[in-house]
């Protein structure tokens, strides 16, 4: 299976990042978008780039700055003297995989310009709507430490991201290897694609339509939602859309593991990446968000 091969190749180039790659692919399969919260220099860009290459998709990159304008993302209409008309010049968003670096540095106006493409897969400029290429996959990164001069993403915006992950430092051995070999950026750029657009779209359809979800799993999911809503640490629990996207991600995971049905572990594995950024924690517990989510998952009975 090509997906497997793609995964293999990716793990070769991005050693020690298997988890991140897996989640990345899941996100793509579930037609979601990914938010990576991590320090610079961990390999976010490399991850996004190699993903695009291996999957045979076009790649666009937007560097988030405080003066970034919406039109810098979507593109803009420019007057063509020879034709005497305004012509639309597509921005970097018109790519399959779009990496938005340091998204929290962009001002809210620009951030909100991302809402439409991420949710609806289209861009409207000057009253004209342009469809985005499919598959469309946004990978946004944000810097956790540098609060200075940042505009934290609003809840509505965060909700657009299916998963929020962090890559983390590679293990010592792996890091040693990286140091020995040096950066592999050039090799990555020259990677051959393993999958095609068509295949990816097919896979996305299969994930959506052909993965069976038993009543038991639904009940389990409902149990989880209920717990988040009743939790004393939270102001607001999981929304219905949140639950839907969690389920979709779980389906993607089932597909990734070559199953045509969802098992509780799918939900369990995905939840820590799917829930924390969607839940609204009480101020004093904000820093404990991951632990609280884990506690909720660990305390829910698994149906068998």
């Amino acid at each position: 299976m090509n997906l497997e091969r793609a995964f293999k190749v990716l793990t070769q180039f991005l050693q020690g990042k298997e988890k991140a790659i897996e989640l990345c692919i899941l996100c793509l399969l579930a037609k979601g978008h990914l938010l990576i919260e991590d320090l610079p220099g961990i390999g976010k860009t490399t991850l996004a780039l190699s993903l695009a290459k291996v999957l045979g998709l076009s790649f666009g990159r937007i560097q988030g700055t405080s003066d970034l304008l919406p039109s810098d993302i979507t593109g803009t209409s420019i007057y063509n003297r020879s034709t005497g008309k305004f012509e639309f010049h597509k921005g970097p968003i018109f790519n399959h995989i779009v990496l938005i670096d340091e998204i929290n540095r962009t001002p809210p106006k620009t951030q909100s310009a991302l809402l439409e493409p991420m949710e609806e897969g289209q861009v409207t400029v000057d009253g004209q709507t342009y469809p985005l290429p499919e598959p469309f996959f946004v990978i946004a990164t944000q810097n956790p430490i540098e609060y200075y001069g940042t505009y934290p993403l609003p809840e509505a915006q965060l909700d657009r991201f299916l998963l929020k992950i962090s890559i983390g430092y590679p293990p010592r051995e792996v890091e040693k290897e990286i140091l020995k070999i040096g950066s592999l950026k050039e090799e990555i750029i020259s990677l051959e694609s393993i999958l095609s657009e068509e295949e990816i779209l097919n896979m996305q359809r299969e994930v959506k339509n052909q993965i069976y979800v038993s009543e038991k799993i639904l009940d389990y999911l409902l149990d989880l939602i209920e717990k988040t809503r009743k939790s004393a640490y939270l102001l607001a629990g999981l929304s219905t859309r949140g639950a839907l996207s969690l389920l979709l991600a779980a389906k993607a995971r089932a597909y990734f593991y070559k199953r045509d049905f969802v098992i509780p572990e799918d939900l369990k594995e995905i939840a820590p990446y799917s829930l924390p950024h969607r839940l609204i924690f009480k101020e004093e517990y904000k820093s404990l968000s991951k632990e609280i989510v884990r506690e909720i998952i660990e305390s829910t009975k698994v149906p068998i």
């Binding site: 038993s214 509780p264 829910t300 698994v302």
Partner: protein, 650 residues
């Protein structure tokens, strides 16, 4: 570690069961067939040893031929015997074959049928115990068959051999359960098929004639003739009357037709104390019933004839043991009119005997009797069972020449001497004495207690005289061995009383007792007591219904039948249980794959992974597991179970 091949074990059990069954038929079938069957049995053992067997076709043809032969020789009177013959024969044929699992099953079926047939011949509790033993053996063997079906060469370590017998808990408990059926299942008051079985018990000690001078030695037999449930009485009154004999031809005493009169001549017994006896007669006594001394009232489940000489004869053929109730009188009863001539009959005798008799004549009849008794005591007569004189004139030789013999000689001689002197006398054959079982409150009378005595007609009454020297009086048992025999006999006695004799009447009685208990109407506490009992019953019923309704609600809710779990759940529970033995406990909050992560041991993990992967499909795809998958998973589980985990203490 020593290992045992299950097939060998199964063979051993099968041969053991078959041998027991064959030996049991010894009593039922004729000795010629029996020896052939035994012979075939040993041949089959020989075959088994050399692993060479009769061809199946040959066996089958033989079987059919013999069935046909037996069919043609069978009639209603020998039905049971012939069926047993056929079954045993088929069994021995079957053993000659190379045995597959279905053959084992056929063998067990034959054994079972043979046992059922044999139960007609054995009324002993030991047969019952043997039956239970065989039941357990059969059960174990059937269990072993399951293994053999899987793998012909199944091997188990000898250490685990005992575990095979655990399976016997099932019949053990079902025995208890079936005892309830035993009590309440409606019974027939008579056997469904009244097969005419010829009793094959050896007849010793008692017959309808007393003959002297034929046997030189009389075997003392310990077999039990009767058990009599009654109070203990003085030993000297313990004369068990069988048959009264009045005609002597010089050698044998027989019963003449003339004396078979009606019973009405027996007078005045109403004032006498009557002793109640419940008698279990084990061995047939030429259809004569044994009673204590003078029987007055008899009742039993049969037709009988009472003779004027107090002997009682059953008119129909009965299967033994027979139970009957008797009221007897042991003291003298009122006057009785007889035809004296009938009791004075004599054969041609030698002159010496007549002279001897005349010499003993006293002034009165009583004195004559005393003289005769004195004569036996003082003239050197000895009691003996051995070296009895065989002669054509046994009585004369006994009186004049040898002067030793058994009770028959003494009694005959006394009767003859009395008759010569014109005093009517008759012989009574029966039993004397008996061992009293204090625990069971009954007398035990054995074959060796057989005795003959004389009744003399004096002053219008029959009086008992026993001329035999008291050589045969049995002492009360004092030896340890005797006591054990007593206890064993007691068990056997209760087995007869409560199990074999358990009939419709008794059943009705027990049910009535139950019913009475629940509807007992004690006038003083009528309201509270009866109310409580019926109320309790009602509450119990209501609770029962609530539980049933709740359970069905649960079933409805979960769409699974709680009592019979679906296969995937069954195997899941088993799987988790098995892994728990290895120290891996799945928490409720853990998924199966998470659980798998915890398993460290590579072998366990690999096997568990296989199971979990299959299980998940059925658990989370809402599919119903088919039996094949279930079996396959079970095999995986078995592999896990047999795995010796190095860190777990066994």
């Amino acid at each position: 570690m020593k290992e045992i091949k299950l097939k060998n074990l199964l063979l051993f059990f099968t041969y053991l069961i078959s041998l027991i069954c064959i030996l049991l038929t010894f009593k039922a079938i004729d000795k010629f067939y029996f020896s052939i069957i035994i012979f075939l049995f040993f041949i089959s053992l020989f075959f088994e040893k050399h692993q060479k067997f009769c061809p199946r076709l040959f066996i089958n043809i033989m079987g059919i031929v013999f069935i046909l032969i037996f069919l043609f020789t069978t009639n209603l009177s020998n039905l049971l015997e012939n069926s047993l013959k056929t079954l045993t024969f088929l069994l021995s044929l079957k053993l000659l074959e190379d045995k597959k699992v279905r053959d084992y099953l056929e063998i067990y079926l034959l054994c079972f049928l043979i046992l059922a047939g044999c139960s007609y011949f054995y009324t002993n509790i030991f047969f019952f115990l043997l039956l239970i033993g065989i039941l357990f053996l059969l059960n174990t063997s059937l269990f072993l068959c399951l293994y053999i079906l899987e793998d012909q060469n199944f091997i188990i370590p000898s250490k685990k051999l005992l575990k095979i017998f655990y399976i016997n808990f099932i019949p053990f408990f079902s025995l208890f359960l079936s005892s309830i059926f035993f009590i309440f299942l409606p019974r027939l008051s008579s056997p469904l098929f009244n097969l005419n079985i010829e009793e094959r018990e050896a007849k010793t000690g008692f017959s309808d004639q007393v003959t002297i001078g034929i046997f030189s030695k009389i075997q003392e037999s310990n077999s039990i003739v009767l058990r009599v449930e009654m109070e203990k009485i003085d030993f000297e009154y313990l004369y068990w009357r069988g048959i009264t004999l009045d005609y002597f031809d010089g050698k044998s005493w027989t019963k003449s037709k003339e004396n078979t009169l009606n019973f009405h001549t027996l007078p005045h017994f109403f004032n006498n104390t009557k002793i109640k006896q419940t008698i279990y007669l084990n061995l047939p006594q030429e259809n004569y019933l044994l009673t204590l001394d003078k029987p007055i009232i008899i009742s039993g489940n049969f037709q009988y004839d009472k003779d004027s000489d107090l002997s009682i004869k059953i008119l129909e053929t009965k299967t033994y043991p027979v139970r009957y109730y008797v009221y007897s009188v042991i003291s003298d009863i009122g006057e009785e009119k007889i035809n004296k001539k009938n009791f004075l009959q004599l054969p041609q005798l030698r002159r010496e005997v007549e002279e001897l008799a005349k010499n003993l004549k006293g002034k009165s009849e009583e004195e004559t009797v005393k003289n005769i008794l004195k004569f036996f005591k003082e003239s050197g007569f000895k009691y003996s069972l051995k070296n009895l004189p065989i002669s054509t004139y046994p009585l004369e030789d006994f009186l004049l020449k040898y002067k030793y013999g058994n009770c028959e000689y003494f009694a005959s001689a006394m009767a003859v001497l009395l008759r010569i002197n014109g005093i009517p006398a008759r012989l009574v054959a029966g039993y004397k004495g008996g061992e009293y079982n204090e625990w069971g409150k009954y007398y035990l009378v054995r074959e060796k207690n057989a005795h003959t005595w004389v009744e003399v007609y004096l002053n219008g009454r029959w009086k008992r005289y026993d001329p035999t020297p008291s050589g045969i009086i049995l002492t009360q048992p004092s030896f340890f061995k005797e006591k054990i025999i007593f206890v064993l006999d007691l068990i056997n006695y209760y087995y007869h009383k409560f199990i074999l004799d358990y009939n419709l009447q008794l059943q009705v009685k027990i049910l009535k007792t139950f019913k009475d208990y629940f509807t007992k109407e004690d006038i003083k506490t009528i309201s509270i007591q009866t109310f409580n009992k019926t109320l309790l019953l009602k509450i119990f019923l209501v609770l029962f219904f609530i539980v049933i309704i709740y359970l069905s609600y649960l079933n409805f809710k979960h769409k699974t039948f709680q009592f019979f779990l679906p296969l995937e759940r069954k195997i899941l529970i088993k799987f988790l249980k098995t892994l728990k033995k290895f120290g891996y406990h799945k928490k409720e909050e853990e998924g199966l794959e998470e659980f798998l992560e915890k398993i460290k041991d590579p072998f366990l993990r690999e096997k568990s992974k296989k199971i979990i992967e299959i299980l998940e499909i059925y658990l989370y795809k809402d599919q119903t597991m088919d039996i094949e998958t279930y079996q396959r998973l079970k095999e995986f589980l078995k592999e896990i179970e047999n795995f010796n985990y190095p860190y777990v203490k066994s």
